[in-house]
């Protein structure tokens, strides 16, 4: 097998710096938005005592689970011993770390008292899944760094597989944990479901891979590095499978919800009657994030066209954001059912009078904050690939390792 050569991303300085400039200005604007929110308080956002987590959480959760998904590519390479994926590993690790940083930053900056971050880092309530998540996130970071080291440094090579396996499990735990943040909320009807955790896992696979593919294609194109069809179609097929799985889980989720009879009204509301949430569910989640990308991926002609593949990835990402918007915000907007069998006529606190959902409309600062997180993730990635050797010199078919089927057989042969 040929040695894979990694090289720093060497796009022309003018292009590189303008890319950084754009990202930095997005981050700058987001920083201003944060300063404004922090100075005034959260009343300048669309969030309220009814919808307490808004757009920043949509972005944060999206970035965090994507981080886990982005690492999936590396895992496939090491843990499942698919040599074809090995050259993709380093970028996968970097992207995972970057997305996590972006996501956590959004999460932290949306806190009511972000200056107490150090409190959050030093005092834990171990019964809180959220506190566990803090460990999961910092642990993830450490493991990804170790993983990257084991991929990049020759001294780390012997540990690569072990770290890879740990990373895989940690990653699953992390997405499960993130899903469980919602899944454990018995109070809210839409969340209270164990299936949310596995659903988040497959979502993470799909969104993380979509982001990964876009970043890979973009960076390779800018630097005139070749990507062979073999690997690209592999990734594309994988994306197809993940999108299908998300679909499957969506279905099961709604079915289990319907199974508990008391949830008819919730499901009905969401699917038919939920206004923006219904729209986002059908158009964003199902159509844009599912059917259209699947159509592209399995289309005999478009499915082989790089621009179409990139478009499919983009749509999956848009669909992902929509689905998280529906999951996170829609579920809060739907009133808590405190008095079964009773209709609330009046309330001093928006308790779903006559079953009405709470209103929420995102405000500009919170949206900017979300974009800031994305920009941070991309910035970290852009700087990372520039200063360190993350990107393989070529992914052209002829330099790639043989398909794992072949080498798998070889390995079996060797063992025998």
């Amino acid at each position: 097998m040929k040695r894979i050569v990694y090289r720093e991303w060497r796009v022309p300085p003018a292009r590189y710096w303008s890319l950084l400039g754009i990202l930095a200005s997005v981050i700058g604007v987001a920083a201003l938005a944060f300063a404004y929110m922090e100075h005034e308080g959260h009343w300048v956002t669309g969030m309220s005592n009814s919808v307490v987590w808004g757009v920043p959480h949509v972005f944060a959760v999206f970035l965090i689970i994507s981080a886990s998904g982005a690492l999936n590519v590396a895992s496939i390479g090491t843990v499942f011993r698919k040599p074809l994926y090995k050259p993709l590993g380093r970028l996968s690790g970097l992207l995972a770390a970057a997305l996590l940083v972006g996501g956590l930053l959004v999460l932290v900056l949306d806190l009511g008292r972000p200056e107490r971050l150090v409190v959050a880092m030093t005092t834990y309530n171990f019964r809180s899944i959220f506190a566990w998540n803090i460990f999961l996130y910092t642990g993830f970071m450490a493991i990804v760094i170790a993983y990257l080291w084991s991929m990049a440094d020759r001294k780390g090579d012997p540990y690569n597989r072990a770290i890879g396996i740990v990373a895989t499990f940690w990653r699953l735990a992390l997405t499960t944990g993130t899903g469980a943040i919602f899944g454990f909320l018995v109070a809210r009807q839409a969340y209270d479901a164990a299936i949310l955790a596995p659903m988040f896992v497959v979502m993470s696979f799909a969104y993380g891979l979509a982001i990964y593919m876009l970043v890979l294609m973009f960076s390779f194109k800018e630097d005139d590095r070749p990507i062979g069809n073999r690997i690209l179609f592999r990734l594309r097929n994988l994306l197809g499978i993940f999108v299908l799985s998300v679909f499957y889980f969506t279905l099961v989720y709604h079915l289990t919800k319907l199974y508990g009879a008391k949830n008819y009204d919730l499901v009905g509301w969401l699917l038919l009657d939920g206004g923006i949430y219904t729209f986002l569910f059908w158009v964003g989640w199902v159509l844009i994030g599912g059917l259209i990308p699947l159509g592209i991926i399995y289309h005999p002609i478009h499915g082989r066209d790089r621009n179409w593949i990139a478009a499919a990835c983009g749509l999956v990402i848009v669909g992902g954001l929509s689905s998280l918007y529906v999951i996170i915000i829609g579920s809060q907007a739907y009133p808590i059912q405190m008095f079964p069998g009773q209709t609330i006529l009046e309330s001093g606190f928006f308790d779903g009078v006559q079953g009405a959902a709470s209103s929420y409309s995102p405000r500009i600062p919170e949206v900017l904050l979300g974009f800031g997180g994305v920009a941070v993730a991309l910035l970290v990635t852009a700087v990372g690939v520039r200063v360190l050797q993350f990107l393989p010199e070529s992914l052209a078919d002829e330099v790639m390792p043989p398909d794992e089927e072949a080498s798998g057989r070889a390995a079996v042969g060797a063992q025998a």
Binding site: E40, G41, H42, W43, V44, G46, M47, S48, N49, S50, V52, W53, L111, G112, R113, P114, R116, L117, V119, A120, T123, Y124, N125, R127, S128, I129, F130, A131, N133, I134, I181, F184, L185, V186, A187, R188, Q332, I336, M338, F339, G341, Q342, T343, I344, L345, E346, S347, G348, F349, F350, D351, S358
Partner: protein, 265 residues
């Protein structure tokens, strides 16, 4: 300060008489605590508490919805005054309808109609001081906690404002302080970026007062719909009433064993 207070006194029915009475209470409980204490609630320490609270008591409320009057809001206003919630002002530039949903509410009135019978019930709803509070379970820093005497509080020195507890509370009992505060009261510090909720008037507990602001107000308004007391003490008035009335917890199915009970619906 005085003028401020006047400007905030609520509807005439319970307003004016309040301050004086409370001043009296405060002085009475403080300066001559020893004189007042006997005969009141056995477990409460008279005067500023010197020993840490214990689980010998569990404070709770019983709401007799049958007595809760339609159109009355005395308890709400009393709570607002007691805890300085009436000092909240809409930030200039805030959109009024959204602000309504952003300002802190510790106790609210809810009016229900039974879908089958059509019976209408009024009740005040606040933090239920659950024995197994989901808000405490989820709080990452441990800022939400249950005091030994059953009161569920937020330690606002360690609350990071993540609002996870609000997601977790089945009663929507908590509020997030969305705006910068000023003019707080000495006994109830509160400020931007933290989550808060009914404290069962914890300062009154610690200074040995016998009741809560809402209870007092309801009584003063002549309804006596809320009773405060120690759920662990079989002799306490609240236990006596509980024995008399059929009561329930809201969302009993969650098995949170709430400290606030409702009778009559």
């Amino acid at each position: 300060m005085t003028d401020h207070h006047e400007s905030n006194t609520g509807p005439a029915e319970c307003g004016p008489s309040q301050p004086d009475r409370r001043t009296f209470m405060a002085t009475a409980a403080g300066v001559t605590a020893a004189l007042v204490a006997p005969g009141v609630i056995m477990h409460s320490v008279a005067g500023p508490r010197t020993e840490a609270v214990t689980s010998d008591v569990r404070w709770g409320l019983l709401v007799d919805t049958a007595k809760c009057a339609d159109g009355c809001s005395a308890c709400i206003e009393a709570c607002d005054r007691e805890n300085g919630l009436d000092l909240q002002t809409q930030p200039s530039g805030a959109q009024p309808t959204r602000w309504e949903n952003q300002k802190s509410v510790w106790i609210r009135k809810v009016k229900l109609q039974d879908n089958q019978t059509g019976r209408v019930t009024n009740l005040p709803l606040m933090c239920q001081h659950c024995e197994h509070p989901p808000c405490v379970d989820v709080c990452p820093t441990g800022a939400s906690f249950k005091r030994a005497d059953g009161i569920v509080l937020v330690d606002r020195h360690t609350c990071i404002g993540c609002r996870y507890c609000m997601m977790a509370c089945p009663y929507k009992a908590r509020s997030f302080v969305h705006e910068v505060m000023s003019n707080q009261l000495t006994r109830v510090p509160r400020g931007k970026g933290c989550v808060e909720s009914c404290t069962l008037c914890v300062h009154r507990r610690d200074y040995g007062e016998e009741s809560t602001a809402c209870v007092d107000a309801c009584q003063a308004a002549g309804h006596e719909a809320i009773i405060f007391g120690d759920l662990k003490d079989p002799e306490s008035p609240i236990r006596m009433r509980l024995a008399e009335l059929a009561s329930r917890q809201i969302r009993e199915d969650l098995a949170l064993n709430t400290g606030v009970r409702y009778a009559g619906f």
